[in-house]
């Protein structure tokens, strides 16, 4: 079935993030693990908070990254999977009901398909595009909550649906960037969803887990509870905000702030009299107190985690999270981010990197979670494409129904 894939057995993932652009070419191994064939990253220009603000410079940046990739990987690429984030990503919920009209009231695949259709039929404003329709648990006669209703009996079947949707304008502009490179975008995936696919293990998903992807311009989160996706969200705050806070607090340039964040930053405040020496400017010696630096970073990180906690708590999800919190994305590399998250969520917290991902230098790289999740999606869906080629719709792929309903563990390889 892989024959349909122009790139042979490989797929390409492209993450156009706020701080970096990443291309990843990967192929499936026989044991369902993934081997990375090539990787190219480049600092992004022309984007803020995941949205194109300067088209020309964004295009140049993508071209350069692609060029870099082609130097390491000689086979030309044609198609790719694109990730997407930004504060414009929102979710809507809907519940659909159907009557089970069979004589013996047995629920068949037909009813399940029908109830999914009903639940997925939501009306959104014209400028919104649905990225994923995610199905949660089913209910039979408004009582029993089940994961797979086929074969059970009941008079009425209900399905809960969570739609992830984004702004058409932002999607169009990202898609156009890809088209300008003469590449075809096979599907667009919400980056938080992709990251989760890369780092969550099946047993964690079963006990309930929250994945927080700390990106450059946005923080995405996705919560699994009761074996389904219970919440998805984006906060338009990321590592760039931490850098900007530092720059504003100590009167530094963004570059200097970024440097001291990487070298001395920590999410945990500390009482210390140490000071960081900065390169001389106008022949003046400059120092930043380490305790102050950490206070500034702590305030921002505490607020970010606090806002996510508030949202999850208000939906009653946190109580169903047994496996704790997974921090991923480049921001997870901030020292003691996990310690702070553990304190705020009151749950065990770990920094998670993509797993079952092989290749040189692929170990412990939380910042690659999104792109690794993209190729995982890609490999699974390209292999499905032979079966369901008609279902692939430009920019709007309703494959998530299968992912999250019946074959959900397949995402995890």
């Amino acid at each position: 079935m892989r024959a349909r894939n122009d790139n042979g057995d490989t797929v390409v993932g492209l993450e156009i993030g706020t701080t970096k652009v990443v291309f990843m070419v990967a192929e499936q191994r026989d044991d369902a693990d993934i081997t990375v064939r090539a990787l190219a990253t480049h600092p992004t220009t022309g984007l803020r908070k995941g949205q194109v603000v300067d088209y020309e410079s964004a295009r140049t940046c993508l071209r350069e990254t692609l060029h870099e990739l082609e130097q390491n990987y000689s086979i030309p690429i044609h198609r790719l999977f694109l990730s997407l984030s930004g504060p414009h990503i929102q979710t809507s919920r809907n519940r659909g009901h159907v009557a089970v009209l069979n004589d013996d009231h047995e629920i068949t695949e037909e009813e399940v398909r029908h109830v999914k259709q009903v639940a997925a039929a939501i009306t959104l404003p014209e400028d919104r595009v649905v990225l994923h329709t995610i199905f949660g648990r089913y209910r039979i006669d408004d009582e029993q909550s089940v994961l797979r209703p086929e074969g059970m009996e009941g008079a009425r079947l209900s399905a809960d649906m969570l739609a992830v949707h984004g702004s058409q304008t932002h999607l169009r502009n990202l898609a156009k960037l890809v088209r300008d490179l003469d590449l075809e975008c096979r599907a667009t995936v919400f980056s938080g969803y992709a990251s989760a696919a890369a780092v969550v293990r099946p047993e964690q998903k079963r006990s309930g887990v929250v994945v927080i992807d700390l990106g450059g311009g946005t923080t995405d989160y996705i919560a699994y509870a009761s074996e389904t996706i219970a919440a998805v969200g984006v906060l338009g705050v990321g590592g760039e905000h931490v850098t900007n806070d530092i720059a504003q607090a100590f009167g530094l340039t963004t570059r200097e702030a970024e440097h001291i964040k990487l070298d001395h930053g920590s999410a945990w405040p500390e009482r210390t009299t140490k000071a960081i020496e900065l390169p001389r400017q106008y022949n003046r010696k400059r120092t930043v107190p380490l305790a102050s630096l950490r206070t500034v970073i702590h305030a921002r990180m505490e607020e970010t985690f606090g806002l996510i906690r508030e949202r999850l708590e208000s939906e009653g999800i946190l109580a169903h999270v047994g496996a704790g919190i997974l921090l991923t994305g480049g921001g997870a590399l901030l020292r003691d981010a996990d310690v702070l998250a553990e304190k705020i969520f009151g749950k065990p917290c770990t920094v998670a990197s993509p797993w079952r991902l092989h290749g040189e230098g692929m170990a412990d790289r939380p910042e690659l979670a999104t792109v690794a999740g993209l190729v995982r999606f890609g490999l699974r869906n390209e292999s499905d494409a032979g079966r369901r080629s008609g279902l692939f719709d430009w920019l709007r792929v309703v494959w998530a129904g299968d992912d999250e309903g019946v074959e959900q563990d397949d995402i995890f390889g």
């Binding site: 949205q51 900007n244 607090a249």
Partner: protein, 389 residues
């Protein structure tokens, strides 16, 4: 000499926004007897209430969330609805110098949305004063608790909050029968206060009041403000009105003029008012107050008041100890609830003036819970630390 082609350039742009059903109805009743009102905006989650409103502009909140059916008495819904409609609200606040928010607390929309809208207005550079009414005693404990929580949130979000109870308004107006008259009297009192404030600020009076002084008076934040009034006509009207004001049941306990730390008193009278009446009233008022208390005054004379002599007062009570613990710089506590987080306000306490967004200046702001998250957290939370050397 500079001539302005448009006189409105000088006029202070004041807007009055009624948030929630209760406030919208109250505003309607006020507009019936308000000759030259400032720009009014009705804000609600309920389409029916907006359709019925006489306000100049209507802003439906959270159309996608509530579908125009109201908040069902849930402040959380009110808050979310406000967050959904932040962009529209921002455009209303854009050219406004002073926004007076009118909220009848205790329900869903007014209680939930007011503080969020106040924060957004503040972030637009608008001065925000909230005039909040607490529910009638008979409306029950739950509504009262919700309303009090609403007042606390407003305190954290506005320049000044003037809170008053509906029951007190009815008592003060001295009308309780029939019910319609009692409600009208309560609204009339709030409307009177609004009119008095607007006229003074707009500079239409003989003695006017500038916004910064009023803000200094009310802006102590931790100190709640209350309002009261006194009315009389005919002979000896000045003395009677003052006695009426001093005895006003709305100004109780800490807020009694004799106990207050600060007060603004406006005289609104017919154009027959004499200089002697004004002078005597102000001298006696000063004598009635504590010597160290601040007294700001305004005088407004207009033929529409006929023979009346009205006194309107806003008083701030005894300064309370700060109600919440300060955030020490190394305080590793759980995040404070949004109520306790203070947005940028009294700038003299900030290290940076005005709040800087640095590289996020030119992009769409990230507004969550009415706070602009692009502004560094340490600025919004007023966290102090040792600066760079």
């Amino acid at each position: 000499m500079i001539f302005s082609a448009d006189r409105r350039d000088y006029a202070r742009q004041i807007k009055v926004a009624a948030i929630g059903g209760g406030a919208c109805r109250a505003l309607d009743r006020m507009l019936l007897r308000w000759p030259r009102p400032p720009c009014t905006v009705a804000v609600d989650t309920d389409d029916r209430s907006l359709d019925a409103s006489r306000a100049a502009a209507h802003l439906p909140l959270g159309g996608r969330l509530t579908k125009g059916f109201g908040s069902g008495g849930d402040p959380r819904v009110g808050k979310l609805a406000a967050e959904e409609s932040v962009a529209e609200w921002r455009s209303i606040c854009a050219d406004t110098d002073w926004m007076i928010l009118l909220a009848a607390l205790g329900g869903g929309t007014g209680t939930g949305a007011a503080s969020t809208l106040a924060r957004v207005a503040m972030s637009c550079g608008t001065r925000v004063t909230a005039l909040a009414t607490l529910p009638f005693d008979f409306e029950g404990n739950e509504r009262m608790q919700r309303a009090q929580r609403g007042v606390r949130e407003l305190h954290a979000a506005c320049d000044a909050v003037i809170a008053t109870s509906n029951s007190g308004l009815v008592t003060a107006a001295g009308v309780s029968e029939p019910a319609t008259a009692a409600f009208a009297a309560a609204d009339g009192a709030v409307g009177f206060m609004l009119t008095a404030l607007c006229r003074m600020i707009q500079g239409q009076g003989l003695l006017t009041l500038d916004m910064p002084s009023l803000q200094r008076l009310l802006g102590g934040r931790a100190q709640p403000a209350a309002f009261g009034f006194g009315r009389a006509e005919g002979s000896g009207r000045a003395a009677t009105a003052l006695a009426d004001l001093l005895a006003c049941p709305l100004l109780a306990d800490d807020h009694r003029l004799s106990h207050a730390n600060g007060a603004w008193v406006g005289i609104l009278a017919g154009d027959t008012v004499s200089f002697l009446e004004i002078e005597t009233t102000l001298v006696e008022l000063r004598a009635a107050m504590k010597p160290e208390a601040t007294l700001l005054t305004g005088v407004y004379a207009d033929e529409s008041f006929g023979d009346e002599f009205n006194l309107a007062a806003v008083t701030t009570g005894a300064r309370r100890k700060a109600e919440e613990p300060g955030l020490s710089q190394l305080d590793v506590s759980m995040p404070l609830s949004s109520a306790a987080r203070r947005p940028s306000a009294t700038e003299e306490q900030l290290k940076f003036d005005p709040p800087k967004k640095g590289r996020f200046n030119d992009v769409d702001p990230t507004i969550v819970g009415g706070e602009d998250l692009d502004i560094p957290t340490f600025i919004r939370r007023k966290i102090r630390f040792e600066a760079a050397r």
